[in-house]
């Protein structure tokens, strides 16, 4: 198709890492369209370049699930409403949360984690302990 080689692209510098390994930034090039969100770019990376990139989102762009927060160019933002720029965009996990993997941090409330129920091998019940 004509024009394919001249399509604009944008660069995303994304923090990659897991708790027990040293992390670092990886740069990806994605097709750029005016108005697209940072999450659009991250989803494109997952679909076409690296499906192991961990990122939390549910509603894609309605900004109602409120689960896609990350540090975008140093500011806490919802990646679904932050716009991608034609200049490089840096995305990092939330600073005050421990990292689970890549951009996913421990934003699950403590009482909603399996660890809250018991540890390996223990049989526990869904009922909370008696007061």
């Amino acid at each position: 198709m004509s024009g394919a080689i001249n399509r604009p692209t944008a660069l995303l510098r994304v923090w990659r890492g897991q708790p027990d390994q040293p992390g670092g930034y990886e740069t990806f090039e994605v097709p750029y369209e005016e108005g697209m969100s940072v999450l659009d770019g991250l989803r494109w990376i997952r679909a076409r370049l690296d499906p192991t990139l961990a990122v939390r989102y549910s509603c894609i762009n309605a900004n109602v699930c409120k689960t896609c927060m990350a540090l975008v160019n140093g500011e806490v933002k919802y990646t679904c409403t932050a716009r991608l720029q034609s200049t490089p965009t840096t995305v990092a996990p939330l600073p005050k949360r421990s990292v689970i993997r890549d951009l996913v941090t421990d934003t699950v409330p403590a009482d909603e984690r399996p660890a809250h129920l018991g540890v390996n091998g223990e049989e526990v019940t869904g009922k909370p302990p008696e007061p």
């Binding site: 679909a47 499906p51 509603c59 109602v64 890549d102 018991g118 390996n120 019940t125």
Partner: protein, 568 residues
């Protein structure tokens, strides 16, 4: 390995799952409410910016029987009328209960405001301003579920299989996304409330996480699905310019509150060409609107991005602001000024009428297995009225939770048996260790499936397209699903989760395509270009089950209303 026990396990924590949790706890059961995302943040409920239909009669005289008649008429002859009666009769109680729990329904004094909506013969659609209905009701239910000492919530836990022993649901196997470890759950009753299947389609309006898992789990557990051919395409999903921070189906309330003209690429009104009128009322039914839009695009009269225009330029800015306040500013931030611009819209997969076959206690044909919300099939027949989906989440959720708690009290024990869970656990471990080492990734196959479903099993279908889709889907299932490349990685392994989602998407896609191929007519949301027109002789439902790995379809008579009204 973590093993958890609870009276009732609820899979999916959107509106239906959370309501079911509250109702089951109220019935004396201990509840485990599990979501693959975050409890109360995923699914379709939070995406519902619009309205909830219930015959409260606050704006004008109304009665549940009138609401039921409207729902049945929209369903093109296929509604399960007993489910409709339940939905419409209990809708008002649920709305008022949510009101007591602090949902801030728009009101005038003591009366809730109720909007008109297409297909409803009365003003009966409640809402929370501005376009905030879904997030607000989800927050209300999340508060209720969190405040009960009998409900344990679990986020980022993806149930992969329901464990069935001797024909009775006895719990589940799940993947803890955060640790990457499997988890077993012993339960005396299980409620599937994991929503619909819109993720099967390239263009879809709901959350990204509804790949039909509830249907797939039900099939594999031995339960039946009904009406799987009826996928609702929302006619005026946002298409262009790029809009972020808003639901792509947000134009519907704009249209029926303020009026919005649908124009083709030549700026002509066109709905009248397809056997309906839209002039001044903006109340054309969804299936007809989708049909008209696709036909205009096909005829070369589409808008630049392949849809049609929606035009509000005749509406005064003050009227726009009165109706939608801050939403107007969000649109302006997206560069959209409705007083001088047109937006482009086109159909988008929005909701699934079909689903798990249940009775009026939300029981499936598998003992101790229930369903709730969009996961349930049958109440809407071939076409759903706007406003009935959140009502369904509330009513069917409450009903399922209450029935499951009664079931648990009667049964008294669980049939958990580790041996029955072994194969599902082995599969998680095998995949987690990166055992399959093919070329393609689960996500790339998901993307291909979404394109296939959109192009061949979408708004319009033909026998040839459906057959082609079925053969490709079966090929994906048999030849590719077992050999995909999955990264052997521990925490938050999205690759592994994508694989499970894909496994569900494939069997559900096959169900939709097979049911669509078997229904040799056009009816409601199922439009066959090779078989136009509805055949009165085909007024029956299609029921699907999975037997020894193969889907079978049979016909079942439409469930008629009981002679005397059901009591609540």
């Amino acid at each position: 390995m973590t093993h958890v026990a609870s009276d009732v396990l609820i899979v999916g924590a959107g509106g239906a799952g959370m309501y079911a949790a509250v109702a089951a706890a109220r019935g004396g059961a201990s509840v485990l409410l599990v979501d693959k995302g975050l409890v109360g943040r995923g699914g379709a409920t939070i995406m519902a910016q619009m309205t909830v239909a219930a015959a409260l009669g606050h704006e004008e005289p109304d009665d549940w029987t009138v609401h039921a008649a409207d729902t049945v008429e929209a369903g093109r002859g296929l509604c399960n009328e007993q489910l409709v009666a339940l939905l419409c009769q209990q809708g008002p109680s649920r709305i008022l209960e949510m009101d007591a729990w602090g949902a801030r329904w728009a009101r005038t004094g003591n009366r809730l405001r109720q909007s008109p909506a297409p297909g409803h013969s009365r003003r009966r659609c409640c809402y929370i301003d501005f376009l905030n209905t879904g997030p607000a009701v989800a927050a209300t239910l999340r508060r209720q579920a969190s405040s009960s000492p009998h409900i344990q919530r679990l986020s980022n836990v993806a149930v992969t299989d329901i464990v069935v022993r001797d024909g009775c649901a006895s719990g589940a196997v799940a993947l803890d996304m955060v640790s990457g470890e499997p988890l077993t759950i012993d339960a005396k009753a299980v409620i599937l409330a994991a929503g619909g299947l819109t993720k099967l389609y390239r263009r879809n309006s709901a959350s990204a996480n509804m790949g039909g898992e509830a249907y797939a789990m039900a099939l594999r557990a031995g339960a039946e699905l009904v009406d799987m051919e009826f996928v609702q395409f929302f006619p005026i999903g946002h298409l262009a310019p790029r809009l972020v921070g808003m639901d792509p189906i947000m134009w519907d309330p704009f249209r029926y509150k303020l009026g919005g003209r649908l124009l083709n690429g030549r700026f002509e009104e066109f709905i009248h060409r397809y056997g309906s009128t839209d002039g001044g009322h903006y109340s054309v039914a969804r299936d007809l609107a989708s049909y008209g839009i696709v036909k205009e695009v096909e005829a070369g009269r589409g808008s630049p991005h392949g849809g049609v225009y929606l035009d509000f330029r005749h509406v005064a800015e003050s009227a726009l602001r009165d109706a939608f306040g801050p939403v107007i500013d969000r649109l302006l931030a997206n560069g959209i000024d409705l007083t001088r611009m047109l937006v482009e819209v086109s159909p988008i997969a929005h909701y699934h009428m079909g689903g798990i076959r249940v009775n009026t206690r939300m029981q499936t044909c598998v003992e101790a297995l229930y369903a709730a919300g969009e996961a349930v099939g049958g109440a809407h027949g071939a076409n759903r009225l706007s406003g009935n989906a959140i009502t369904e989440a509330f009513v069917f959720g409450e009903c399922a939770g209450r029935a499951a708690a009664e079931d648990v009290a009667r049964r008294g024990h669980s049939g958990w048996d580790s041996a029955a869970a072994a194969s599902a656990l082995d599969l998680i471990r095998c995949l987690r260790d990166g055992r399959p080492r093919g070329e393609r990734t689960p996500l790339s196959l998901q993307t291909e499936l979404q394109d296939l479903m959109w192009d061949h099993v979408g708004v319009f279908r033909t026998g040839a397209q459906l057959d082609a889709a079925l053969s490709r889907i079966r090929q994906m299932r048999d030849a590719e699903l077992p050999h995909l490349r999955i990264a052997a990685a521990g925490q938050f392994n999205m690759d592994l989760h994508d694989w499970y989602e894909l496994r569900a998407m494939l069997v559900v896609a096959e169900s939709v395509a097979a049911a669509a191929a078997a229904r040799r007519e056009s009816r409601g949301a199922h439009q066959r270009l090779d078989l136009p027109g509805t055949d009165a002789a085909l007024r029956h439902n299609q029921v699907i089950r999975l037997e020894r790995g193969a889907l079978s379809i049979r016909r079942a008579p439409v469930v008629q209303a009981r002679a005397t009204a059901a009591h609540s």
